[in-house]
Amino acid sequence: MAIDLRYTDAHRALRAEARAWLEANVPREPLPSFDTAEGFEAHRRWEAQLHSGRWSMVTWPQEFGGRGLDLIEWLIFEEEYYRVDAPFRVNQNGVFLFGPTLMEYGTPEQKARFLPRLAAGEDMWAQVWSEPQAGSDLAALRTTAVRDGDHYVINGHKIWSTRAVHADWGFGLFRTDPASERHRGLSYIVFPLRTPGVRIRGIPQLDGKAGFAEIFFEDARVPVADLIGGEGQGWSIAMATAGFERGLMLRSPARFQRTAQRLVELYRRETAAQGAAPIDPGLGAAVTQCWMDAEAYALATYMTASRLIAGGSIGAEASLNKVFWSELDVAMHRAAIALLGARAELRAQGSEAAAAADEACRWMDGFLFSLAGPIYAGANEIQRNIIAERVLGLPKG
C-alpha cells in the first residue's frame, strides 16, 4: 500500500477493451428518455446488448454474469461508459441495489431465479420503498404483508417508485407484523409488478413524464418464497441497501465529470460567441468551481475505492457523497441554464429522440432532474443530520 496514482497495464488493457466495445456498440443517437414506454424498451434492449458484451454488471461475480471487477476497475469502465455518452442504466436499481442485496441475503434458489434474468436484461427492477406518510422517515412504513398460508397478502400504498411504470419486478419493505412499530416487523419482499391486486399509477415529474409511480396494493398475494432474508429482517437488509445507494455505485464520478466537461465546452463556446460583450464573471467562477468539484468527487471515489479494496468499509460518510454529488449536479445544470439564456426553455420539435439529442433540451431536462437529487435517496437535510450525528458526534435534535 502506498499512494501511486498510475494505472497498471491491466487497467490500460481493460480501458482499451471497454473503449473498443463501447465505441462499436453505443447507439449513434441518444436513446429517448426511459421515462417513456418507447424509451424504456430502447433502454431495455441496450441492457441486453451490454450483457452480450459482458458489460452489464462488471463488478458482479462471473458466476452471476459479471466480470468480478474491483472498484477501481469499475471506475475505469464507468469512465469509458460516460466518455461516449452511453445510455443511462434503466436497470440500475436492479444492478446496484437489488442484485448485491440478493447475493448477500438470498437463498441459492432465489439467486438462481432472479440473478441470471436480471443480468441478461430480461427483468427490470423497481425500488418500492416510500409511502405517502413516510417520506424520508422509512421506519414509518405502514403497508402490510400478512401471512396467509404460503402467501403474503399485501395491502397499502407505496409511492415514488422509480420507473415502476414500465419495470417488471419490485423489491421493497413491508410490515409483516401489523402490530409492530418503527423498525421492527418490516420484511424485504419482491413481487412481479403485474401481480393481481397491484395497481400502478405513473406520477408525472416536472418534465411531464412518469418517471416514478405510486403503487396501490389490494389483497395482492405474493408467495412466501419471495421473502428475502428472514421475516422481520427487512430494516437491516434495507439499511445495507441504502448504504450502497448513497455510496458510490449509483453515482459514477464519471457521469459528473462528463457533465462538467460539457459545461466547460459550453462555457468556452458561449464566451467566444459573446465577443466584446461583457461577461458575467459569476458564470466563470461557477463553471470553474463545478469542474473542480467534479474532479474532487472523482478523486474522492478513487480514494474510497482504494480503501474498500484494502478492507475498509463505508459508513455514515456515504452521506457526504450524497450531499456533494447532488448539489454539484444542481450547480452544473444551473450554470449551463444561465449560459444558454433564452434557448434553455425551448423544447426540441418532434420526437423524444430529438429532445435527447438537443443540447439545450438535454441541459433543461438535466436541470429538472438534478433538482430531485437533493431530495431522493434520503433528503439532504436528513443526510446532513446523519453527518452531524454519526460522523461528527453531535446530539440528536
Partner: protein, 366 residues
C-alpha cells in the same frame, strides 16, 4: 422623497389579486397546462380576459393626449407583481407595459397605426412587441397586432396574420411561444432611425423592470406555497416546517425577495412611459432584474426542496410558478447580461458608488 405606494395603486393591486385568485388559481393553471393549446379551456381564458378588461387598465401608460391614462411604469409595478404572483398566462403586462406605449409613439408619427391604437385602447385588439433579433415570443399567437423591427432602428406595425408564426414548445407549459418572421406584407405603419431605437430602448428597460416585479410576486407565491406545505406535512412526528433547515431556507428566500423589492420599485419609479432611461436608471433596472430573478430562483429551489419528492412531481402547482421564474430570468436580455453590465459599470467607474449617490439620477421621474 416618499417611498410608499398610493392607496389607489394598492387598491388596484388588490383588485387584480382578487380577480386572479378567482380566475387564475393553481387549478386553473393546471387545466390550461394540460390542455396545451387544445383550446379546451379557451372559455376559461376568454372569461379571464373579459374580467381583466373590467379593471380598466387599457392604455395605462399611453399619454392622455393619445387616449390613454397617462400613468407611469411605477403605476404598473404592483400590478405586475400580482400578475407574477398568479403566474398569469395572458400577456397583460407585456401589452400594457411594453407594447401599447410603443404603439402610441408610432401612432403619433404614422397615421397607419391609428386604427390599431384605437382598437387596443377600446380593448378590442391585443398588441405585442417582438424585440428585434430575439427568439420566440410568448402569446404572439393570440395577438391581433405585432410591433416588430428588422433592426433596433425600425419599429413597424403588422397585423399578426400578415406575419409567419411558428409555434415552439417551452418548458413552461403556459408560455405559448412562437417564432415570428416577416413576410412580404408591407407594415401598417413604420418608424425608423433614432426615434425607433429610443422606443425599443425604453421598452427594453420597462420590460426588464416589470419582469422583475413579476418575479417578486412569483417568489412570494412560491414561499407561501412552501409554508403551507411545511405546516401541513408531518414527518418524524411533527410538521416539517418545525425543522430549522426548512425554516432557514425559507427565511433566506424571504430575505432575498424582500431586499429585491425596494430595488424593483425604485427601478420602476426611475422609468418613463416612453423615454429611454438615463445611465443610472438603466443600471438600477439591471440591478432589479438580477436581484428579483435570483430571489425567485432561490424561492423556487427552496420551495421544491421543502416539498420533497412532491416538489419534483407534476402534481403540485408549485412547478408552474417555478418554471415561470426560470424562464423569466432569461427574458429582457437575461440575468447574466444584466449582471455583466453592472460588473462592467463598476469596473470602468461609470456606476455611482458611495452613500450620497443612491438617488443620483435614477429617481428623476415623478
Amino acid at each position: 422623497m416618499d417611498f410608499t405606494f398610493t392607496e389607489e395603486q394598492e387598491l388596484a393591486a388588490q383588485a387584480l389579486r382578487g380577480l386572479l385568485d378567482d380566475h387564475c388559481s393553481g387549478a386553473d393553471l393546471r387545466r390550461a397546462a394540460e390542455a396545451r393549446g387544445a383550446g379546451a379551456f379557451a372559455a376559461a381564458r376568454a372569461l379571464r380576459r373579459e374580467r381583466l378588461k373590467e379593471l380598466g387598465l387599457a392604455g395605462v401608460l399611453v399619454p392622455t393626449s393619445a387616449g390613454g391614462l397617462g400613468l407611469a411604469p411605477i403605476d404598473l409595478a404592483r400590478l405586475a407583481e400580482e400578475a407574477g404572483r398568479a403566474a398569469l398566462p395572458e400577456p397583460l403586462i407585456d401589452v400594457e407595459g411594453i407594447a401599447l406605449p410603443m404603439l402610441a409613439q408610432l401612432a403619433a408619427a404614422a397615421p397607419g397605426a391609428h386604427d390599431a391604437l384605437a382598437a387596443a385602447l377600446a380593448q378590442q385588439a391585443t398588441v405585442l412587441a417582438v424585440t428585434p433579433g430575439s427568439g420566440p415570443v410568448a402569446a404572439a399567437v393570440d395577438a391581433d397586432y405585432l410591433l416588430v423591427g428588422r433592426s433596433p432602428d425600425e419599429l413597424a406595425l403588422h397585423r399578426r396574420d400578415a406575419l409567419r408564426l411558428t409555434s415552439v414548445e417551452s418548458v413552461d407549459p403556459l408560455r405559448r411561444l412562437a417564432t415570428v418572421e416577416l413576410t412580404d406584407a408591407a407594415p401598417l405603419a413604420v418608424l425608423q432611425g433614432s426615434v425607433a431605437r429610443q422606443a425599443w430602448d425604453a421598452a427594453a428597460s420597462r420590460s426588464a423592470a416589470l419582469i422583475a416585479a413579476q418575479q417578486l410576486g412569483l417568489g412570494a407565491r412560491m414561499i407561501a406555497i412552501a409554508v403551507a406545505y411545511a405546516l401541513d406535512r408531518k414527518q418524524f412526528g411533527k410538521a416539517i416546517g418545525a425543522n430549522q433547515a426548512v425554516k432557514h431556507a425559507l427565511a433566506d428566500a424571504q430575505m432575498r425577495v424582500e431586499f429585491a423589492r425596494p430595488v424593483v420599485y425604485a427601478a420602476c419609479a426611475a422609468l418613463d412611459a416612453s423615454a429611454p432611461p438615463d445611465a443610472s436608471a438603466s443600471l438600477r433596472v439591471s440591478h432589479a432584474f438580477v436581484a428579483a430573478a435570483d430571489a425567485a430562483d432561490r424561492a423556487a429551489r427552496a420551495a421544491i426542496q421543502v416539498h420533497g419528492a412532491m416538489g419534483y412531481s407534476w402534481e403540485v402547482d408549485l412547478q408552474f410558478y417555478a418554471k415561470r421564474a426560470w424562464t423569466s430570468a432569461a427574458l429582457a436580455g437575461g440575468r447574466s447580461a444584466h449582471f455583466a453590465r453592472l460588473h462592467r459599470a463598476l469596473l470602468d467607474g461609470s456606476a455611482a458608488t458611495g452613500p450620497d449617490h443612491l438617488f443620483d439620477a435614477g429617481a428623476a421621474r415623478a
